[in-house]
Subunit: 511 residues, 2 copies
């Protein structure tokens, strides 16, 4: 048990008589700190071995599949009156890791994030150990400044020469909500107080390829999903910038306030033509938001940043370094070009218990009133630390490699019998069908497509049960189920690309 005499203040008198209140003894701490430290130490060894070494070893499984019923039995989930011994809890840690999917495994290609990033991981451990929360400088001085530094640097890559403002928040979906709220507040500041029932019907535009969070945000913010006007995409899945519907809307008495352009769509990795959309926004005085959650990383590549040409004209941008750039989950920036304090005016509620104006330091460092949250995690630190370690140049190399890897995979798909590319990859998404031998000589009739539609789920089930890799499948528009490979991890190599195609072929041969 830790001695508790406060050496820092020798003037302080320690009372030795026990004090009881409501039957509770209040002398001394009730947490055995050295036992706690011993437990943390032992857990760290397990985490190192199982959650770092094994999880990222290509020879190990990506997942050890169990059905919900099996897993419930294995995990003994019920919470009880009595506690358990530390040795039991250590075993529970091992089990939780064992039956979890290893998203850091080199063959996890299932989501828009993947891979192990050691610096960012350590950054997140530090956050978890000291539990900071970002609202006031006094509680999170280091992380407040780091967030500022990271946002500043990211805005440089956006080409916002005058800077801007921003906030890290829990997810690209939330960033897109911020965008809609700031855009409508900019359009009509009265909305904050009076609500939407006091103003004409607001409408916005987006491409049909946008992320589903746009729809969620419109519902959540009270705009209504039907007031999101979906603009048809062209054959390359880019928003058609002439925005034909725009004209119709203007004649329907509604008030357009915003266009959402997507830089790197979720399924296909397509980039909307920002420059042209910016022209339209300027002409019609609409807020331009760019959802670059996935595609923003391309800005770090001199070779590929042209995909986001025009992003310097955006009024706001969402960009998630936890995706291609591999910061630990979650690490999501929302940025506005405005420098007049719009973000703060839009979200402030001036809680007097947090944002006292009579503090002894410059309270402009209290960023909490820009946020829709109260407690907020210092996610920027996870990105700052890895950026310091890797430098911009290594980040750029990684992005370039992901692009190149996607192109390699696309080439291989074109060479192989039974594989068909859905489209040339524009980014690190490679979408393709696997056509099993039984379908290869069939005419491409409705029956063919119907049968092909069942291949994705069947192969996915087999790869999950084998644990050899994870690749997602989905239908999309009029396209039946196809595979989507996402290539991010610097641990994944050409050999893994070959492996994926070989493995799909092995798993799907008899379908």
């Amino acid at each position: 048990m830790e001695s508790h005499s406060p050496v820092a203040d020798p003037g302080h008198v320690v009372k030795s008589s026990p004090v009881m209140i409501d039957g509770v003894a209040l002398n001394g701490p009730t947490l055995d700190v050295s036992a706690a430290e011993g437990f943390i130490q032992q857990s760290m060894a397990i985490i190192m071995e199982d959650a770092v070494r094994k999880a990222t070893n290509v020879r190990e499984k990506v997942c050890e599949w169990r059905s919900p019923e099996q897993l419930k039995e294995l995990l003994d989930l019920e919470l009880k009156d009595g506690g358990e011994a530390q040795s039991k809890i250590l075993q529970r840690c091992r089990d939780a890791i064992r039956y979890s999917v290893k998203t850091t495994h080199p063959r996890f290609f299932n989501q828009l994030y993947a891979g192990m990033e050691p610096y960012s991981m350590v950054g997140s451990f530090i956050i978890e150990a000291i539990k900071p929360s970002l609202y006031t400088y006094e509680v999170a001085p280091v992380f407040t400044l780091m967030e500022e530094a990271v946002l500043k640097k990211m805005m440089e890559f956006l080409g916002w020469e005058e800077g801007g403002d921003g906030i890290f928040n829990p997810g690209g979906s939330v960033s897109n909500m911020y965008a809609m709220n700031v855009a409508r507040f900019h359009h009509c500041p009265d909305i904050k107080e009076l609500g939407l029932s006091a103003v004409p019907r607001l409408v916005m535009f987006t491409s049909q390829e946008c992320h589903y969070s746009i729809s969620k945000a419109a519902a959540f913010l009270g705009i209504g999903t039907k007031n999101v006007y979906v603009v048809p995409s062209d054959k390359r899945y880019h928003l058609q910038y002439h925005l034909c519907v725009c004209v119709c809307v203007f004649s329907q008495g509604a008030e357009p306030f915003m266009v959402n352009a997507t830089a790197g769509t979720t399924v296909l990795g397509a980039f909307d033509p920002i420059e042209e959309i910016a022209d339209i926004c300027e002409k019609y005085n609409l807020w331009l938001h760019v959802d670059a959650c996935w595609g923003g990383a391309a800005l770090l590549s001199k070779k590929h940043r042209h995909l986001l040409k025009g992003i310097h004209r955006a009024n706001s941008v969402a960009w998630n370094p936890h995706k291609m750039l591999m910061a630990c989950l979650q690490c999501c920036a929302f940025m506005v070009r405005d420098k007049t304090g719009l973000l703060q005016r839009c979200h402030s509620a001036r809680a007097s218990y947090l944002f006292q104006q009579d503090k002894f330091y410059d309270v402009s460092y209290d960023t909490g009133d820009k946020s829709i949250q109260c407690s907020r995690k210092p996610d920027a630190f996870k990105f700052w630390l890895m950026w310091k370690a890797l430098g911009t140049s290594e980040l750029e190399r990684r992005v370039d490699r992901a692009f190149a890897m996607a192109r390699y995979l696309a080439q291989e798909i074109k060479k192989r019998e039974g594989f068909r590319l859905l489209m040339e990859p524009e980014y690190a998404n490679v979408c393709f069908w696997y056509i099993p031998p039984s379908l290869r000589n069939m005419p491409e009739s409705p029956e063919f497509w119907q049968k092909l539609h069942t291949v994705g789920p069947a192969v996915k089930e087999r790869m999950m049960k084998k644990g050899s890799m994870m690749v997602s499948y989905q239908p999309h528009g009029d396209k039946v189920n196809f595979f989507r490979m996402i290539i991010i991890s610097p641990q994944a190599s050409r050999e893994d690309m070959d492996f994926v195609l070989d493995e799909i072929d092995r798993l799907g041969q008899d379908l």
Copy 2:
């Protein structure tokens, strides 16, 4: 460098010829895994020493204050083209910890969370190491089931005998947003598609003591801050249940849809009378939301749970185990009593790339479409693991101890010259003024209060610069700046309570 031959599949042919695409070599991984592991290992030692041992040692400082300008200089924040050596990065980790506030320190009393919880900390390390995201069972099987188990148990404490539904999310503010959105969707499901401009003006009620997130949420959700009708509190800072304004509103053509009751207010720790408010909600067919983010923990105490009497009648509840119950930040549950899938219907957007219906397992375990987020962290695990380790009985003991400690502190305040209690504590918030000797013989004129108002900020500045403890101060309603002590950590003892009063007296003697 890790050998990369996939032993799991000996059939896979490794190509030895180098492949270049766009000038990038694609053979083999580019991450040196063993170097990465070495770095993580070294970092863990630093975290153990600086962020766990030192951070929680009462003889160390709570914070090492630096002004924003000083800290910027110390931290060298700029992100550059080149990376830095691992040894440099390790030093950066040490510095980040050193200049951060130690919220796990036994003398951090500044927020509604505090203290070190070893099991929850380890849970969070595991999450950070394997980077799960909760949307589909296939990507987070273990954590999906654990969330379900934790919610089930928490709902037992709410007294929801039939169960309900729920979701962990990034903060009590977001939980309160969920509540408003679900309540209005329940009131009028068309809002999701048509938005608020298509329906009559919605209004809601809350007490003036509620958290500022209610106002933020009303703005964000398009309801408008002026449509939140603030009900005056009584002398004990409880919402006056007769809701006198309610009547006025009914006659003004607006549509009331919800009442927000607060169980444990932020500043004073007051509990609104839920039972009476529930009567009114039933009578007028209003959704009853209870913001028990802070006070929910009292449900674990047989002695104190009467404070939340009637919570079983709530339609929804927000409850943050990261506060009094010490789960690592963030750990916040939003729960609805509805069992018909309201939460999902209200928030679903049916993204076909995530929520495929032709999966090989029971897709009711894919919880992502209940959420307003896409990626979502498995925060429930941090609570599950500590609950397993401690058992309900130890959680109860901790809650009871926090109540008792607050009562002890209040008693001491009443005994001491120069200290004055604002009100008897109802929960673990103890609010009081420190009256320096120079003011003790003054009549309580406006000048007295004006001078007293400056004492909080002055003492706070001194305690921060000394680093001896952190206690918040704030004005509240017509009350001038007072101190608010929040007592949570089982490391904090009676001796620390005495220390706090002694220290304030030492720091403020000459004011």
